[in-house]
């Protein structure tokens, strides 16, 4: 979990000693110098590992450049926020391309590895120095890796939530059929979250359409647990507070039993067998009378 800090906290505080700062600067300088070659190696290894297959070579290279520079910058400054922003931004772009979590984690670990190896070969003559360089590099690299991964996952979760919300809205349409009359056909399983969204949509619909009667058809609802049944009852009550009566249609005997079991007084609820009957009842309550039009007699030739 990344923490927010008011100013960039130098990562070397996690490491040991004051020489860490000096070491970091030195290795950052080296990584910047070797930028071209290391970046190419990284891009090559990404392709070899068959990651980011959804993107073209040019795209990978372009993103790789940005990631590399960001990575090295954060090594130097310790400014995790900038990295979080960049990671989220990157995620927003690549998630619709179908890039998955393991790919993002994979490429970050590859970069980490590419840079670590570069440090190995530079300092391998001086084991002691290599040790200290790695002490400086490791915690910083770990932090960068987890920041990027977490940001990606958070972004994914955000997108999924949005999509779920959209789906839920689409699946519970409130239909104004006649003046003052709304129909709410509910189809499919209703979970508590969907039930709540249903209620909110209906109440808003009652207000917008100035409905006096709502026909809520639950023919298409296979089953309901006590929690959702309670929501149903609450929806009816809340609608009444807005001045609208709710006629429930399509109540199967099983569902009726569930309601009775949780203590709902069905005689208080306005129920009609089917949707057709419900609409007729609603029209009656609204004072409509439906009269068939007289047919024109066929013209004699």
């Amino acid at each position: 979990m990344a923490e927010a800090s008011p100013h960039p906290v130098p990562i070397q505080k996690l490491g040991a000693g004051e020489s860490t700062a000096v070491l970091l600067r030195e290795l950052v300088a080296h990584l910047r110098q070797s930028r071209t070659q290391l970046r190419e190696e990284w891009a090559r290894r990404i392709t070899e590992a068959q990651l980011l297959t959804a993107m073209s070579k040019e795209e990978i290279f372009a993103e790789a450049t940005a990631v590399y520079d960001n990575y090295v910058d954060v090594l130097e400054t310790g400014a995790v926020e900038a990295l979080q922003d960049y990671a989220r931004n990157l995620s927003e772009r690549i998630i619709p391309r179908g890039v998955e979590t393991h790919e993002v984690v994979g490429i970050v670990l590859l970069l980490r590895d590419v840079l670590a190896r570069s440090l190995f070969s530079k300092y391998r003559q001086d084991f002691d120095k290599l040790s200290r360089v790695l002490d400086a590099y490791e915690p910083a690299a770990n932090r960068i890796g987890s920041t990027v991964a977490v940001s990606f996952v958070q972004e994914r979760e955000r997108i999924i939530r949005e999509q779920q919300e959209a789906i839920r809205e689409l699946s519970t349409p409130v239909l104004p059929v006649r003046e003052r009359l709304l129909i709410l056909p509910i189809i499919g399983m209703v979970d508590p979250l969907r039930a709540r969204q249903l209620t909110e949509q209906l109440l808003r619909g009652i207000r917008t359409n100035r409905a006096r009667v709502v026909v809520m058809d639950i023919t298409g609802v296979p089953a309901m647990d006590a929690t959702v049944a309670n929501h149903l009852v609450q929806t009816v009550e809340a609608s009444r507070l807005l001045g609208a009566t709710v006629i429930v249609t399509g109540l199967s005997p099983e569902l009726a039993q569930t309601l009775v079991n949780i203590g709902v007084d069905l005689s208080k609820m306005n129920t009609v067998g089917d949707l057709q009957g419900g609409i007729e009842e609603a029209e009656r309550q609204l004072g409509y009378r439906v009269v068939p039009m007289m047919e024109e007699p066929p013209v004699q030739t």
Partner: protein
């Protein structure tokens, strides 16, 4: 973001309005939906009302809480009243919402995500509730 904590002393019925308005503002800053804002404000209103009905004085503490990536609102209603003798009974469905006594704790529990109550005879009552942003 700096952690915000607001304390509203509750001594008179006008404080009930203050407490729920402040709670609503804090919840709005957290990005709660308008429906959740109504639930939160109503819960705070009931908790504050209980303080007025059963104690000489008390306070409502409003604060932002975090749990991993989730953020939420915490409301603590503390009073110096006589305490609740039978908490189980007080939490019973429908107990007293229709009577002249205010309690309605079972209702408050329904409105919020987390609910906790500590009450000791002669030592006051503390109700802690939380609601998390989805």
């Amino acid at each position: 973001m700096p952690s915000q904590e607001i304390t509203v002393p509750v001594n008179a019925d006008i404080d009930i309005v203050t407490a729920r308005q402040k709670g609503r503002e804090l919840a709005r800053d957290l990005g709660f939906t308008s429906t959740d804002l109504a639930l939160i404000a109503t819960a705070i209103s009931e908790l504050a009302r209980n303080i007025i009905l059963y104690a000489n004085s008390g306070e409502i503490l409003l604060s932002v809480v975090e749990n991993g990536t989730r953020r939420g609102l915490k409301v603590v209603a503390r009073d110096d009243g006589p305490g609740i003798p039978d908490i189980e009974r007080a939490l019973e469905e429908g107990f007293s919402t229709s009577r002249s006594l205010g309690l309605g704790l079972s209702g408050v529990r329904r409105l919020m995500d987390e609910f906790d109550i500590v009450s000791e005879i002669g030592n006051g009552t503390t109700v802690t509730v939380k609601k998390w942003r989805l």
